[in-house]
């Protein structure tokens, strides 16, 4: 459960901060020090169709718990891949590619699907913040890859592209990297851990 400590903060800050937290969490607990602030939180919850609960701990300490209702449309946007949120916009995502094939099945089909997947990324309304390649995915960023033009196109639009240095080394491809940056496991873990949403083909 996510907590917003709005003690000592005047309206509308408790409401604005709670609203932001609700974009990333299904349940948010907000602490406020006055009754008017609880009423404003209640108004917001009602407008959004969320469940509102309030407990008066003392005349200067109130605990409000707002939970997204089952019918609330925003909730359906959330996916199970939602990792630790931080403070991110709700349409942010990163892409992780760990193979040169998409899905399990016939190799030729898998490679075609991956090529189409990367092309389709270029067509999205919201581009990924970054694409991370490791293990069987690293050949896609090297010379001779059929996706190079699409990746360069994405990079030109501000998408960060990273490839695992140890993986490139293992496959003997380090000298052939044609797009993006070489990175290490420390950075890969950090980027995945702090991502709002991870998309994996």
């Amino acid at each position: 459960m996510f907590k917003v400590d709005a003690l000592g903060k005047a309206c509308p800050l408790p409401v604005i901060e709670t609203r932001k937290a609700l974009k990333e969490h299904d349940t948010v607990t907000t602490l406020v020090d006055n009754k008017i602030a609880t009423q404003n939180l209640e108004k917001m919850a009602k407008q959004l169709g969320y469940v509102y609960q309030m407990q008066e701990d003392s005349p200067t300490h109130y605990t409000v718990v707002i939970t997204k209702g089952a019918v609330e449309p925003e909730q359906t946007v959330e996916t199970e891949q939602t990792v630790n949120a931080g403070h991110k916009a709700d349409d942010e995502y990163i892409v992780v590619i760990n193979s040169d094939k998409m899905g399990i099945g016939e190799e030729k089909l898998g490679k075609n699907l991956m090529k189409t997947f990367i092309y389709t990324l270029t067509e999205q309304d919201v581009l990924p913040q970054r694409i991370i390649f490791y293990n069987g995915g690293v050949p896609i960023v090297t010379e001779g890859s059929e996706s190079l033009a699409d990746l360069k196109n994405l990079a030109a639009k501000g998408v960060e592209i990273y490839a695992c240095g140890a993986c490139l080394n293992f496959y003997g491809l380090t000298a052939k990297v044609a797009v993006g940056e070489i990175t290490n496991m420390y950075r890969i873990v950090e980027m995945m851990r702090s991502a709002y949403r991870i998309v994996k083909p």
Partner: protein, 337 residues
């Protein structure tokens, strides 16, 4: 330039419900010279000096609602001067009321007083001193004296059935100024709202006083709902057409993004059960309860005069709107459709 911390404007006003109860128990000196006083919830006290002259006394001050001290001075002064115009009067003189932290840079105070002095001068009033104290937070306002002919006093509780309601400034300035401080409203919208707040109601009253308006008040801390409630004084009801209601579009958008103020909620608590919302529009509800700092004049006008008055106001660039009517008392005091 050092800036002020934002914490108030008319949003800081004590809730109407609390205040009425508290005043009931206080001693009152009845005098036939007191033409308007405690008995009504009017904007100022009016004391008769002779058959042709009465003085209007009013005081208004509050904490900062914008960070720019000069702008704060202008808005606080325009707001304080407004109570004289709401009674149909002219400004005669004003005194500063100042609370200022001991450790703060005095150049900030100078900017505030500069803004205030310019507005008093624009109103044609004499600014002749004041009173300053040290306090933990900045507060500024004016005690204002105005004059009016006793027969031309515009009270807030003398409307008639069938009158139209006219408001001379758009609503929503608290949502905008507070939302701007919270980083949720654009600077362009903020400037629009503060331009309106620093505009003297003198210009609207200079026109309105030439018409047989039946009552007048200014819309401030209790919001449109609160000041209209005082106007109806338990005798009449009102119908409001939200399609004609004047408000800043940015305030409406802000309310829908949940820029919810404490003052707005206090007004809602006090008045919600008196209002029949026939529209399902949360943004408009918030606009109707939004506390106004230096809001417009709310006047009731006989229907036959509405068209010419509106034309006159618009010709003089006053963004007035004819948005409602006074009706016989109904179950709910205010119907909003």
């Amino acid at each position: 330039m050092e800036q002020l911390v934002v914490c108030g404007g008319c949003n800081a006003k004590i809730g109407a419900g609390n205040l009425g109860k508290l005043l009931e128990g206080l001693p009152k000196l009845n005098s036939d010279k007191l033409l308007v006083g405690f008995d009504s919830s009017d904007d100022s006290a009016v004391i008769k000096l002779s058959d042709t002259l009465a003085i209007i006394q009013t005081v208004d001050f509050f904490p900062t609602m914008v960070t720019d001290p000069y702008l704060f001075g202008k808005i606080a002064a325009a707001n304080a001067l407004s109570d004289v115009y709401a009674m149909g009067g002219m400004v005669l003189s004003a005194l500063n009321i100042v609370a200022f932290p001991e450790q703060n840079d005095l150049s900030i105070l100078r900017e505030i007083l500069q803004g205030g002095a310019e507005k008093v001068q624009e109103a044609g009033g004499i600014l002749s001193g004041g009173h300053s104290i040290h306090d933990r937070t900045v507060k500024y306002g004016l005690a204002v004296t105005g004059t009016v002919h006793p027969a031309q006093i515009l009270r807030n509780d003398t409307c008639h059935e069938g009158d139209h309601l006219i408001l001379t400034k758009p609503l929503g300035v608290s949502i905008i100024t507070i939302g701007y401080s919270a980083g949720e409203i654009s600077r362009e919208s903020f400037i629009k709202a503060t331009d309106s707040m620093q505009t003297l109601n003198k210009y609207a009253m200079d026109i309105i006083r030439n018409y047989p308006v039946t009552s007048c008040t200014d819309v401030t801390g209790f919001g449109l709902a609160g000041h209209l409630h005082e106007m109806l004084h338990g005798v009449y009801s009102a119908h409001i057409d939200t399609k004609k209601l004047p408000y800043f579009a940015e305030a409406y958008e802000g309310a829908k993004k949940f820029i919810l103020t404490a003052g707005g909620q206090r007004n809602r608590n006090y008045l919600e059960n008196k209002i029949d919302f026939q529209i399902d529009d949360f943004g408009l509800e918030e606009i109707i309860f939004d506390p106004q700092t230096s809001g417009g004049l709310l006047v009731t006008v006989p229907e036959v005069k509405v068209e010419t008055l509106m034309k006159d106001l618009h010709n003089n660039h006053i963004p007035a709107a004819d948005f409602g009517t006074i009706v016989p008392k109904e179950n709910k005091e205010i119907t909003i459709y």
